[in-house]
Amino acid sequence: MRTIYANEIIDTLKEMCIEANLQLSADMVDRIHGAAETEDSELGAKILSQLCDNMEIAKREQIPICQDTGMAIVFVRLGQDVHVEGNLTEAINEGVRQGYTEGYLRKSVVKDPLLRENTKDNTPAIIHYDIVPGDRLELLIAPKGFGSENMSKLYMLKPADGVEGVKDAVIRTVKEAGPNACPPMVVGVGLGGDFEKSAILAKTALTRNTNEHSALPHIAALEEELLDELNQLGIGPGGLGGRTTVLAVNIETYPTHIAGLPVAVNICCHVNRHVKRVL
């Protein structure tokens, strides 16, 4: 049994919140720079070059990349041989509270979906727990903006709809998202499981390095095909026309029921933020 103290979790999450909002992962930075070089719409190329400048300014002057610093989505992989000294959920929320307050991040969370009073510290986080073998604690934070979250969709397809049905669902969702979701987008797809599992898979897919394809050959091929087809839609940067509509398509799968084919499409803008730390 290994002991991890709540304070360590608080400090780590606080740093992660701030880091995630000021600097994208290397794969995302490379993709945006790459798109700026290959975009053949003049306005599209100008927008992409502004996004490159924006990332530079954010890093240099410690100004969040986007004013929507998101709701804090935290994926926890807790080793079963870890003993947490203190309250794990409270420690995560305290880390988020300190990160968003001390890091000059926006407080975008309301206490009640209908009464809509701001909690003023961006808590609570949305936490997904997973118990895994081992004695380590893996924390992954993905601050999620809602311009793109609002354009996400979940479809309960029939098995007979097959891969074509899945592709249609993804393409339809991206088309509808259009300029609202701040293209170029990253598309996370959750395939299989049940209603809520597919949605969690889709969010997990967004946190995967965009240079890594699915380990399943038929899914990796589907990721490639969808990326290609989505970039022929012409939506482009800002939704104003261009070849760069989607920077990456990541798909995660899970076994499902004989009667079902759930497909969740979680849309993220180009500010696809995620930071992982292992304690």
């Binding site: 502004q50 300014i57 002057e61 929507d68 926006r106 609202n180 012409g234 939506i235």
Partner: protein, 187 residues
């Protein structure tokens, strides 16, 4: 075409703007997003005063991050405009001349833009650090309790934006993608 525009913006200048124009805005504009719109809308419906004179003014759909010491404002990019669609026509009837946001508008908003000689502009979504550099002053003028959603008066210099919907019915979101595809499929 590229244009310099001054804010507040006169109806004469609004009439000159066309979907697709790339503009740089200098002058005074106001921020308001979901909660401030709801509050202004409800006040207007009850016949109460609202905290800003809408005439010829431009509202930027923005909820910034807090400023660090020495900064005017934090990250300051546009939010999705469609959430303000319910409220925008009434604001235009009361004199509002321009809106800056991102994303599509409802048919009701588009017709109010034509009927009231207004303009809808998009700023680049997700470029809040870059856009913050165009803001010279920022002051909360109303609804301070709403935090990031309070109404702020901003002094901006050369804030870049693209005309999406003009008062003649032009709508860049409806034409830009088709134009791009036509141009590139014919190559």
């Amino acid at each position: 075409m590229e244009r310099q525009i001054e804010a507040p913006i006169s109806k004469e200048q609004v009439k000159e703007l066309r979907a697709g124009d790339y503009v740089y805005i200098t002058g005074t504009i106001y921020t308001a997003r979901d909660a401030a719109h709801k509050r202004m809308y409800e006040a207007m419906q009850k016949g109460e005063e609202i905290p800003l004179d809408l005439k010829d003014n431009i509202i930027y759909y923005l909820g910034p991050t807090p400023a660090r010491e020495g900064q005017v404002i934090g990250s300051a990019g546009p939010t999705t405009s469609s959430r303000m669609d319910k409220y925008a026509p009434l604001l235009m009837q009361r004199g509002l001349s321009g809106m800056i946001g991102k994303g599509k508008r409802s048919p009701e908003v588009l017709s109010a833009i034509r009927e009231n000689t207004c303009v809808y502009l998009a700023a680049v979504g997700g470029a809040g650090a870059l856009l913050s550099k165009c803001i010279q002053e920022a002051e909360v003028i109303a609804y301070e309790d709403l935090g990031t959603e309070a109404i702020r008066r901003l002094r901006v210099e050369n804030l870049p934006a693209i005309v999406i919907a003009d008062c003649e019915g032009g709508n860049l979101y409806e034409t830009a993608v088709a134009d791009y595809l036509n141009a590139h499929n014919n190559e």
